[in-house]
Subunit: 296 residues, 2 copies
DNA sequence: ACGGGAAGTAAGGAACGCTAATGGGACTGG
DNA sequence: CCAGTCCCATTAGCGTTCCTTACTTCCCGT
């Protein structure tokens, strides 16, 4: 049995894109071509790789397995290509960075700006990637650098074959409406806020998991009455006096002002921000890493 | 730029085989096909990858670089194929082991025999590989297990991405003609044999490097008058009274008897024997590893 | 019930890669 | 010194593969 790498690439792209049509657009082919290649791959493997559903496809267990391996193959191929570029003394002219939304607003722009000034010939690509996704794209070489985070009580995804460095701790701070009864207090406890209405993500969303875990350890049960994963919405709700919330410090730094005040917990909690990239990064990637570490 | 994996495979096979014709035979193609693929790859890379010479080809610096990367790509592809086999609950039916010549005679056969009894359905392939070669074949997945050695004073090749475990120390023992003036002594020094004619490998051959290094540290200079890398020849020469030599213990265990006696140095030296395989070996490989460790 | 979007099927054409055949260059033995 | 041999490069031609176009099917939301 000999797997075809181009067919593996099709599988990986299709699963990453979430649908055959979207992957076809990315790759510059017709959806029919990808559909046929995928079908042929399934015949060769002897097992279904994706479940076809309306609005796209989802990988089966075998498909997931093969995607993980395919990403490694593509990553090794990517390394080979970069090696020959290096041997010909051709500098890389492209750098793609994936970030989660809130970092994209605060931390990343300043680093990107100085990088752009220093390397005007390097074309930058920025991609929104919400944790815990994105590791596969780094493995396959589609992404040179991933900026991701992990909230407390949320497991950290495995980074097999990748390099992951802690960039900074991003403290989660309390946000209260200006007229809140504790607005004048500097350091608050969760217990003192147990009667408030909370605003957080839905069940399973990282910031909700972290909030619930911290509350449980403090012996408090919080009532989350409003669920949103968008911090801009969260702040608007707080400003309207609807409830209280915890919001990352970096997000607050670049947020619109509003009718809220920022306070801290007596037992500080923080989300950790990580940089993920392939081992032994070369100049363009390593330079960006250094700039981000400088900003943090 | 997008490298073609099949062309990379051609390059890797050609360099491993040492000639286009030999690689073509192994791969079941004509030499012409490989020549064309190789030429096309060189055009794509924009650099020569092999130096064509009479009697075969040798990789250029760029070629060597690309072979190393190609081996990783092929290894990742190999892993993917093994993963789908595993997902379909199909056991591996093939195992290829590479060994250096002297291990092939002593250490390996007993391990192979018990393995064969335990797994009669697994087809075994044995390949002669002289150190320090063979690492690339393990990386690319052509070889499941490599039994290799390192003589003192010889650098150990890097095992990037591979697992290397020390199997045993193989002491180098003195072999003297039966009538030698020190044949009655149990433990000898190199200084006491400085006036003898020595039999060893040519310059650069591992056992020669080890012998010279040991002598240098002992402050002795030895005269190597007969050069051969074949231990059977060495023993025949010693039996004929031509000179003295050091020979690995495992080799002596399976050697023909002759007119020689075996003694030891007061400062024992030994070559180290290693097992090399890919990380996280699965049942058929790991079982063979266990058997070899049991024998040692 | 109907329009839109996504995946699958069928048929044609273009491109790619292999084989076979030919020629050239270098070492070997007479 | 020349014939023989081995290995590699090139060219011509053919077969296969794979992509596109066009059409069908299925599911959802309006």
């Amino acid at each position: 049995m000999g797997l075809d790498v181009e067919r593996l690439r099709v599988l990986v792209e299709v699963v990453h894109a979430g649908s055959i049509a979207a992957a076809a657009k990315r790759m510059g082919f017709t959806a029919s071509a990808l559909s046929q290649q995928l079908a042929k791959l399934e015949r060769e493997v002897g097992d279904r790789l994706v479940d076809r559903g309306p609005g796209g496809v989802r990988p089966t267990a075998t498909g997931e397995l093969l995607v993980r391996h395919g990403e490694r193959v593509l990553g090794a191929l990517h390394d080979a290509e970069e090696a020959v570029r290096g041997a010909r003394r051709l500098p890389r002219e492209h750098l793609s960075v994936g970030t989660f939304a809130s970092a994209g607003k605060a931390l990343v722009p300043t680093a990107l700006a100085t990088f752009r000034r220093a390397h005007p010939q390097v074309r930058l690509t920025l991609l929104d990637i919400e944790p815990p996704d994105g590791y596969g794209l780094v493995t396959s070489g589609d992404l040179d650098l991933l900026i991701t985070h992990r909230y407390p009580d949320v497991p950290l995804p495995p980074a097999t074959g990748l390099h992951r460095a802690h960039l900074m701790a991003d403290p989660l701070r309390l946000v209260l409406p200006t007229g809140h009864r504790h607005a004048g207090t500097d350091r608050l406890t969760l217990a003192g806020l147990a009667t408030d209405e909370w605003i957080s993500g839905g069940p399973g969303v990282p910031n909700r998991v972290a909030l619930d875990g911290t509350a449980r350890r403090a012996g408090v049960e919080l009532r989350v009455s409003y669920e949103t994963r968008d911090y801009a919405v969260t702040l608007a709700l707080v400003s309207a006096g609807i409830g209280v919330a915890v919001v990352p410090g970096t997000t607050l730094r670049s947020a619109e002002p509003g009718d809220y005040v920022v306070r801290d917990l007596d037992q500080p909690i923080a989300r950790d921000i990580f940089l993920v990239h392939r081992p032994r990064p070369r100049p363009p990637v390593s330079d960006m890493v250094a700039r981000l570490q400088g900003v943090a």
